[in-house]
């Protein structure tokens, strides 16, 4: 398995991308490099790597000991360029750390050829900032278990680049709806209700820009959906160096696998967009909506996410924070005892206040 490690031009130590300085830096000699400076030195290597076609990652059957076939089918071995250790990763890992020397490693084969991302949004804040944001967020959550916000658990936060399909799509369509306007008035002993029924039609071109769809299936796909939206202004052309110092996953879906889901999602958004233009009515009911694709352009992008896995009372929780905007997603563990106590106190307080309210208004 071919790996690449971006090394400091001064001391040969591994380089990492700093979200704070927005530069590449060496934590040993404290050298800093811009993207342009790195391109001068590693540009040729990157170009060569990008021209490589991804090689088959199938583990040879002869190499696999009996009873480990399932394990081998989901894992791949690579050699760390710093210490020479052989390390195992799963099939979608594109960047990681060597578990022996902790140097950042980018598995280049997984990000070349058809699997080369078109663009990337670099992390905008550091792991420390993510922790602070997390604490800030937790301060307002009074029913979290204490262990959830302990420093030990927060150390599990990891910066991960996740793969997304970014879709630009032009949809031409038409929506028909029935809208109602109701007016009521009274004359003598009679109340009149007038209902005016309108047939509404809206047709036009919708230009979807950077519609994100997770390109990775599995347990994280829901989290990847809801850490959105990202700000498209920060997109940059992809280079592997951005992944250095973070974890990264490669996509495991093709466009054809998710085309149906994307079409359905865009149809729903089209409906909302057309409906937003039907205003001034008391009720609107959609009769039909037809949308056809005029033009569509798909790109493969890597997006930054701070991830945390947490186990509480035997259940795994996944917490995700958008690495650009800080928006968070994830089911939070609830301290049921605290909530029950709060419920009892609230109940008693409400009961007493209600009785007192009734008593004093006598």
């Amino acid at each position: 398995m071919e790996t690449v490690s971006y090394k400091c031009l001064n001391c040969e130590a591994p380089l990492q991308y700093s979200a704070k300085k927005l530069k590449f830096y060496c934590e040993y000699c404290r050298s800093e490099y811009t993207e342009e400076e790195l391109k001068k030195h590693f540009g040729q290597m990157d170009a060569e790597l990008n021209n490589n076609q991804p090689v088959s990652e199938e583990t040879q059957a002869d190499d696999v000991p009996e009873g480990f076939e399932d394990f081998a089918s989901g894992t791949v071995m690579y050699t760390c360029q710093s210490c020479g250790a052989e390390v195992i990763t799963d099939k979608t890992t594109a960047a990681t750390f060597c578990i022996y020397c902790h140097n950042p490693v980018v598995i280049s084969n997984r990000l070349t050829g058809a699997f080369k991302p078109d663009k990337v949004i670099p992390f905008k804040f550091t792991g420390e900032d993510a922790e602070n944001k997390f604490f800030e967020f937790c301060q307002n959550k009074h029913f979290l278990p204490k262990a959830f916000i302990s420093t030990a658990e927060l150390n599990k936060i990891r910066g991960v680049y996740y793969p997304y399909w970014m879709i630009d799509s032009k949809k031409d369509g038409c929506l028909y709806a029935t809208a109602k306007k109701v007016r009521r008035w009274t004359q003598g002993d009679t109340e009149y209700t007038e209902t005016k029924i309108f047939r509404c039609k809206r047709a036009g071109l919708i230009s979807f820009k950077d519609f994100p769809h997770p390109a990775l299936r599995g347990e994280h796909s829901k989290a990847l959906k809801y850490v959105n939206p990202y700000n498209s202004q920060d997109f940059r052309g992809f280079t592997m160096a951005y992944l250095s110092g973070f974890l990264a996953e490669k996509r495991d879906t093709e466009r054809s696998d998710v085309q149906g889901e994307v079409d359905q999602a865009l149809q729903e958004y089209s409906k909302k967009i057309y409906l937003d233009t039907i205003t001034g009515y008391d009720s609107v009911m959609v009769d039909s909506v037809n949308v056809k694709t005029m033009d569509e352009h798909w790109q493969y992008a890597m997006m930054p996410v701070w991830m945390m896995n947490f186990n509480y009372e035997g259940k795994d929780y996944l917490y995700a924070m958008n690495g650009q905007t800080g928006k968070n997603y994830g089911e939070l563990p609830l301290d049921k005892k605290k909530l029950a106590l709060f419920g009892v106190i609230l109940f008693v307080a409400l009961l007493l206040l209600s009785i007192l309210g009734g008593f004093f208004l006598l």
């Binding site: 009149y192 005016k196 230009s207 979807f208 009785i355 309210g357």
Partner: protein, 151 residues
Amino acid sequence: MKKNCIKRTAAVIAAALTIFCCGISASAESIDIAEVPAASEVNNYAVVYGYDDHDGNYDYNYNNDKAPATGKSKSEPEKKNWLKIILIALGVSIVGTGLTVYFIYRGYKYNGMTEPYEYKDKAPLELSDREDVLIDVQVTTRHIERNNNNN
């Protein structure tokens, strides 16, 4: 963050409304039964003497001292109201607590499930056709019952 604020505000408003409604309902109950005198009481306190003033009109003299002491005493209905007030307060407290706990639970369970795509900013619409055609007008009437009985 905004969504959490809204949820919290909604919970506080729900609790406040609960208390307010409870107070209103309890006071309404108490006014209905305790303060409005019963018909028998009105009669007992009402006309004591009536006479014709020879112009075809009747004049009345009132004498509250002569009202019989056998009317309903005020403490009796109050005792009955306590039970109703407590029952109403109990019901309202259960609903208020249930709703608040549910909103908190929901906030933790579905934390961050907001619109993942800013379609209003990222998906502009160029309208090519826009029609709103009136196709029908329906008028329905309802007779309003008026209570003309002043008693």
